[in-house]
Amino acid sequence: MRQEKLTPYDIIVRPILTEKTHRMMNERKYVFEVNPLANKGQIREAVEKIFNVKVEKVNVMNVKPKPKRRGIYTGRTRRWKKAIVTLKEGYVIKELMPEI
C-alpha cells in the first residue's frame, strides 16, 4: 500500500517542554514528539521548514509504553516517538526559547 506523503506539520506533533528539555535548549537541542512513521531526514526537513533554522543532527527514539495503574484499573501509557534535534551553531527556535 502506498503511503501518503507526510507534511511538516504531520511530522512534528508537539515540542516537549520540561525542565530538562528547557536546559537542553541552551545546548541548541530541542525535543519534539514526532510522527511514528517519520524518519530522521523527514524530521530534519520539517524542523528546518517550520522554524526556519538549520539542523545539525537528529536523534530519534521510540518511547516504550509504561504500565500505569489508577485504582483498580491497570493500563499502559501510549507509545510515542521522540526526536532530539540539534541545531547548527547560531540558530535558535525563538518560538520555544524567546529570550535567547
Binding site: L17, T18, E19, T21, H22, E99
Partner: protein, 431 residues
C-alpha cells in the same frame, strides 16, 4: 522610565510611560515569580518554570502580567495622587521588542465654581397658619383619645369601640393565637375584623380566612362587647381631663402651640436645607471631564451586569443609551453636592471638631437606644460611623450658613404648595 503627559482635559490627565529593557526585564521576572507561585506545569517542579517558558505558554497574556507590574511602577513614581476622584485607569499597555509602553488615565477631584448666594430666596410656610392647623388636629386626636366609653346594646356601628376574642388557627386546625382585643371600628378600615363587625351584636361571631405568604389562616372573631363613644365638648373641663396642669382650654391650646412650634422649627429647617441644597446643586459648576463621567458610568454598568440587574435597568429606562444618561446625571449631581459642600465649607471656614461629634453622638444615643458614653466611644472607634457623621454635620452646617444668607419668604400653605408644585412642573417640562 520616561514620563510624558499626552492629554489634559479639565480634571483628567493622560500620561504615557516608556520603560527601558532593564525595567521590562525586572517586571517580567516579577510576573514569572507571581505565576510560579500559583501555577504548576507538567514537566516542571513547582516554582521552577523559567520566564521564557511562561512567555511561550502564555504569549500575549504574559505581557499583560508584565504591563500590570509596570503600571504599578508608574504609580509609585506619581507623587500627587492624594486627590484622585476614581482609581487610575490603565488605558493601554504594550511590550514592543525590549521596551514597553504604558498609558494611564488619572481623574482628579474637579475644580469647583461656587454660586454667589446673593439673591437666594427660600420658601417657608407661615408659622401661625401651620400652628393653628396643628392645634386643631391635636385637639381632635385628644378628643378621640379621651372619648367617653359606655357599654351599648344593639348593633355595632362605625365609630363604636368593640371588645373581641380573636382565635387564629391554621388550615389543619392548630390554634396560633387566642386573645382579647379592644379597638375602634374606623370607617375607612376594610379589614374583615373591622368591616364585618359593623351591624353585629354582642355574642355574634364572624369567621373568615386570610392568606399570608401563601398560607391560609382561619379567623374566628367573637364580639364580646360593644361600646358607644361620646366625644367631649372642647371646654375647660376637657382641658382638665387631658392634664392636671391645665385649668382652661386656652392653656391646653397654648401648650399644644408650643409643642407644634418646636416641630415646625425642626421640620421647616429641614425643608429650607433641602431647598438650599437643591439650589447649590443646580448652580455649582464643576470642571469635570466627560471622560471621568464615562468611566464611572462604565464601571456602574459593569457592576449591574455582574449583579444580573442590567437588563431590568435597561428595560426600565428604555435602552442603554438612556440608562447611561441617567447614571451620568446622577454622578454629576452627587459630585456637585459633595464638592459644592466641601468648597463652601472651606470658603466659610466651617470645620467639624471632636466636640461636635461628641455632642451629636449624645443626641444619637437616644435614637440608638444606648448610653451617651457608649455612643461617643462608638463614634470615636468606628471610622465609617465617624466619617458619615462628620459628613452629615458638615453638610448641615454649610446649608445652615446658606440659609442665614438667604432671604426666607413666608407663604400661606396654599401659596407654598403652588410655588413648590410650580417648580416641580417646570422641572418636569425641562426633562
Amino acid at each position: 522610565m520616561k514620563r510624558v503627559e499626552v492629554e489634559k482635559d479639565k480634571n483628567m490627565t493622560v500620561v504615557e510611560y516608556e520603560f527601558d529593557p532593564k525595567e521590562v526585564e525586572i517586571a517580567e521576572s516579577r510576573a514569572a515569580r507571581y505565576l510560579n507561585d500559583r501555577i504548576e506545569l507538567p514537566g516542571f517542579r513547582k516554582g521552577r518554570i523559567p520566564k521564557s517558558v511562561w512567555k511561550v505558554r502564555l504569549g500575549q497574556e504574559f505581557n499583560e502580567y508584565v504591563i500590570d507590574y509596570l503600571a504599578q511602577d508608574a504609580l509609585k513614581e506619581e507623587k500627587d495622587l492624594d486627590n484622585l476622584l476614581i482609581r487610575p485607569v490603565l488605558v493601554d499597555g504594550k511590550v514592543e521588542g525590549e521596551k514597553a509602553f504604558v498609558k494611564m488615565e488619572y481623574h482628579f477631584e474637579p475644580e469647583v465654581k461656587l454660586p454667589e448666594p446673593e439673591g437666594l430666596e427660600l420658601k417657608a410656610v407661615r408659622k401661625d397658619e401651620v400652628l393653628d392647623k396643628y392645634v386643631e388636629r391635636r385637639l381632635e386626636d385628644l378628643r378621640e383619645e379621651h372619648a367617653l366609653v359606655e357599654p351599648k346594646e344593639g348593633q355595632a356601628e362605625y365609630g363604636d369601640m368593640v371588645k373581641v376574642r380573636m382565635i387564629v388557627s391554621t388550615e389543619d386546625g392548630k390554634i396560633l393565637r387566642d386573645e382579647e382585643y379592644e379597638y375602634v371600628l374606623v370607617q375607612d378600615d376594610d379589614r374583615p375584623f373591622v368591616k364585618d363587625l359593623v351591624g353585629k351584636k354582642k355574642g355574634d361571631v364572624v369567621e373568615f380566612d386570610r392568606e399570608y405568604e401563601g398560607k391560609k389562616f382561619h379567623y374566628r372573631v367573637e364580639l364580646l362587647e360593644v361600646y358607644s363613644r361620646t366625644l367631649h365638648e372642647l371646654d375647660d373641663e376637657f382641658a382638665k381631663m387631658v392634664g392636671n396642669e391645665f385649668e382652661t382650654l386656652e392653656q391646653l391650646k397654648e401648650h399644644l402651640k408650643e409643642e407644634g412650634s418646636g416641630i415646625y422649627d425642626r421640620e421647616m429647617r429641614e425643608v429650607l436645607r433641602d431647598q438650599a441644597l437643591a439650589w447649590l446643586v443646580e448652580n455649582t459648576e464643576l470642571d469635570i471631564s466627560k471622560k471621568t463621567l464615562e468611566r464611572l458610568v462604565d464601571s456602574a454598568i459593569a457592576n449591574l451586569k455582574e449583579k444580573g440587574s442590567y437588563d431590568a435597568y435597561v428595560e426600565k429606562y428604555g435602552g442603554e443609551e438612556k440608562l447611561r444618561e441617567v447614571l451620568e446625571g446622577y454622578y454629576l449631581e452627587q459630585f456637585k453636592e459633595e464638592f459644592g459642600i466641601k468648597a463652601l465649607a472651606e470658603k466659610e471656614g466651617i470645620q467639624i471638631k471632636d466636640e461636635d461629634l461628641e455632642k451629636e453622638a449624645e443626641e444619637l444615643s437616644k435614637l440608638w437606644g444606648i448610653s451617651p458614653e457608649r455612643a461617643k466611644v462608638l463614634v470615636k472607634s468606628k471610622e465609617d460611623i465617624r466619617r458619615d457623621l462628620e459628613w452629615v454635620l458638615l453638610k448641615r452646617r454649610v446649608l445652615d450658613s446658606l440659609i442665614d444668607k438667604a432671604k426666607v419668604v413666608e407663604l400661606s400653605e396654599e401659596e407654598y404648595k403652588k410655588a413648590m408644585g410650580g417648580e416641580e412642573e417646570n422641572e418636569e417640562k425641562q426633562q
